[in-house]
């Protein structure tokens, strides 16, 4: 294989952006993706087999066969799990990564989300820390992501957001019944409801049509390509540059190094399981928090025998996602109007400034529910079978609204991925072993957020309300983050503020792994924005074989 300027591992939210930025600025790029490229018409609308409901498997990789992980529960029992099992913490393995099938909320983190340690101190048992960058550092790149990849919505009524220089490029979709009810209630409560920013075309944009408002949204590839992921925006742009080659079915085994510990490229298995080498001046790791950490740990050298970037045992630590909590309300009126994506209204009143709590969450109405989803939304105590269960399905399906939000988690040293000493994948590469729990403060904040959702639903007229409360165990999944924390001190972080691994300057991480904390919001736009920022740093300082210091 011909040596290139940069090899990018993982064609998701982070890697897609980096591949585009580097290739359109004259660098030669090979983009390696272990999964496939699914066109919008290749994803069946199957409610039992998709990214979010995996009863009969998932639709965006990796395959259940040959991709195991080991999960250790709170009692110390371990078991081997497949990607379609929840504990696996799967996101996706395909071109676009999670952005192919996501719900597509396009949040900018709150300015205080970058300053959690300064704002809330150091809670006992947590590795809570500030980011090495501020909201202001990221603001121009948030804007770039919003305009290049495409965001609709209107957050002008959100007084809690960080300063925004430019409005969103697309208007919001018209409100649903849920939205209308919840907006009036929020205003009566003196909250500040607004239209959720979404990486979804509300009108034609970027050469693709607007949303047709079908019910097959979260968990599915958009049939008309109205949902904006990296697979239908930056990656096609990268390929059109003529300088980026995408190779699918490419499973990276390890990063390779010369005698002095400088990265020379990667070894990977191609689609026919042949071991290949791709040499590159620069290696960009964008496999998402679980797989990026795995790759670093599997990339060893005499200078770092415990894995790249792992001199102080930080790689794989602080695995976090979000602790979703909220409430479901029953309304006597019909609140189902069969309009996707369903989620449309949010408040950011409770992200910070909650007395006695450290952090909080954005709260929003939930995405449209298919009948199969309703099974897990019925009130507690509903008989699980028989006529009473059927009656409950009939009573509640068109009459419930769910309000919930992603509680920001207190990172934990013990919540982690590491290499399992025994289990390997079908290529013989050691797999991940996941273990850990949630900090008590995370659970407390989650419960408090559920109460906020209760208040909102009650004001909206819900006749019955039941809570969705937090549970123990690790989180991660679609929102996985934190395992290659960036920071200024090499002793307490894996990468510097530009994503460069402290030990080896020509390996750059660009995905959610870098997040020191994960905000009280969905992370996709932040991953994209940070990838733009990291790319710009590479372009400004890269001198063909070295970074200009």
């Amino acid at each position: 294989m011909k040596k290139v300027d940069a090899v990018v591992i993982g064609a998701g939210a982070g890697g897609g952006v980096v591949a585009k930025e580097l290739s359109t600025h004259g660098l030669s790029v090979v983009l390696l993706e272990r999964g496939k490229w699914y066109g919008p018409n290749e994803d069946r609308k199957d409610d039992l087999r998709n990214q979010r409901t995996t009863i009969l498997g998932n639709n965006s990789g990796p395959e259940d066969e040959g991709n195991p992980r080991v999960v250790v529960d709170l009692q110390g029992h371990e078991r081997i799990v497949a990607p379609s099992q929840g504990e696996y913490s799967n996101n996706a393995a395909c071109v676009g990564g999670g952005t192919l099938t996501y719900g597509a909320m396009a949040w900018r983190y709150h300015p205080l989300d970058f300053r959690m340690r300064s704002t809330y101190g150091a809670p006992e048992g947590s590795t809570l820390e500030d980011w090495p960058i501020d909201y202001d550092d990221l603001e121009p790149y948030y804007e770039k992501a919003e305009w290049e990849i495409g965001v609709s919505g209107d957050d002008s009524n959100n007084p809690f957001k960080g300063p925004r220089k430019k409005a969103l490029p697309m208007p919001p979709l018209p409100p649903t019944r849920e939205h209308t009810l919840l907006r009036a209630a929020a205003e009566r409560l003196k909250l500040h409801p607004f239209h959720i920013p979404m990486l979804r075309n509300s009108v034609p944009y970027g050469g693709r049509p607007g949303c047709m408002r079908c019910r097959w949204c979260v968990g599915f590839a958009c049939e008309v390509n109205a949902k904006c992921g990296t697979q239908n925006t930056v990656i096609p742009t990268a390929l059109a540059s003529g300088l980026c080659e995408l190779r699918t079915g490419a499973m990276v085994k390890e990063i390779q190094f010369d005698a002095r510990g400088r990265a020379t490229g990667v070894a990977y298995f191609d689609g026919d399981d042949r071991l290949e080498t791709q040499e590159a001046e620069l290696v960009v790791v964008s496999g998402a928090a679980t797989e990026s950490a795995r790759l670093l740990l599997n990339s060893r050298h005499a200078l770092f025998p415990h894995g790249l970037g792992n001199r102080f045992d930080w790689v794989g630590r602080n695995l976090q996602g979000h602790t979703y909590t909220g409430a479901v309300g029953y309304f006597e009126e019909d609140v189902y109007d069969d309009l996707g994506p369903g989620a449309g209204i949010a408040v950011s009143d409770f992200n910070h400034g909650n007395p006695g709590l450290k952090g909080g969450a954005m709260l929003a109405n939930e995405f449209i529910r298919l009948p199969i989803h309703m099974l897990s939304y019925l009130p507690p105590g509903t008989p699980r079978w028989g006529k009473a269960h059927k009656d409950a399905m009939r009573k509640y399906y068109r009459h419930t609204i769910c309000v919930q939000g992603p509680t920001q988690e207190m990172p934990l040293w013990e919540s982690r991925v590491q290499l399992d000493p025994k289990v390997k994948d079908r290529w013989g590469i050691p797999v991940l072993r996941i273990s850990g729990d949630k900090h008590p403060l995370t659970l407390e904040t989650g419960r408090a957020m559920a109460e906020k959702a209760v208040l909102w639903l009650k004001e909206a007229g819900a006749a019955e309300i039941w809570r969705k409360l937090p549970g123990h165990g690790t989180s991660g999944g679609q929102h996985q983050a934190g395992t290659c924390r960036m920071g200024d001190d090499p002793k307490t972080s894996v990468a510097n503020k530009y994503g460069q691994v402290h030990d080896v300057e020509n390996v750059v991480v660009a995905d959610g792994s870098l997040h020191v904390t994960n905000g009280g919001f969905n992370p996709a736009l932040t991953i994209m924005a940070n990838a733009y920022r990291i790319s710009e740093h590479i372009l400004q300082t890269w001198r063909g074989s070295r970074f200009r210091s």
Binding site: G39, G57, P371, I372, H389
Partner: protein, 176 residues
Amino acid sequence: MKNPDRRRFLQTAAAVAAAGSAAGCGGARSRWRFFSLEEGSTLRAMVAWIIPTDQDPGAVEADTMQYIDRQLRGRFAAQAKTYRDGLAAANRLAGGNYAAATAARQQEVLRQLEHDPELHRFFDLLVAHCMQGFYGNPRHGGNRDFVSWRMLGVPVLPARGRDTRDLPKGGRYEKG
């Protein structure tokens, strides 16, 4: 009979014969891929209680049995033994033939299964699979004619959302 293959062959032959004669009368033509005829009739009688028929069709009309039957030959293959043992236990607890037992006895057996320290595993699977077959997509064998979606008031044929068009076999569309 010692030889399981021979037993399966005879059951299949009987099923084909039964289906053939039933089809001749315009009756049901359901043919099991996994279950024996006896197991199939036990399963049918059980799911009728899990999602009963009332003013709306229930698990039997939706043919959730077929969903379960198909998946046990595929995705749920690892649960085959749990099903065989569970259905046999249901018959045993019902005095030999669950489907022929009285309604009261059938319900009593379900409650026994539900609370049995071992057999509850089978019952839990049965309930979960029954719900999937009833409320999930008809392409997997259950929810015949979208009966559950009609019941819930979900528009069945989505003018929006491709559900009926699939890729031509081996065909590919352009990416991006």
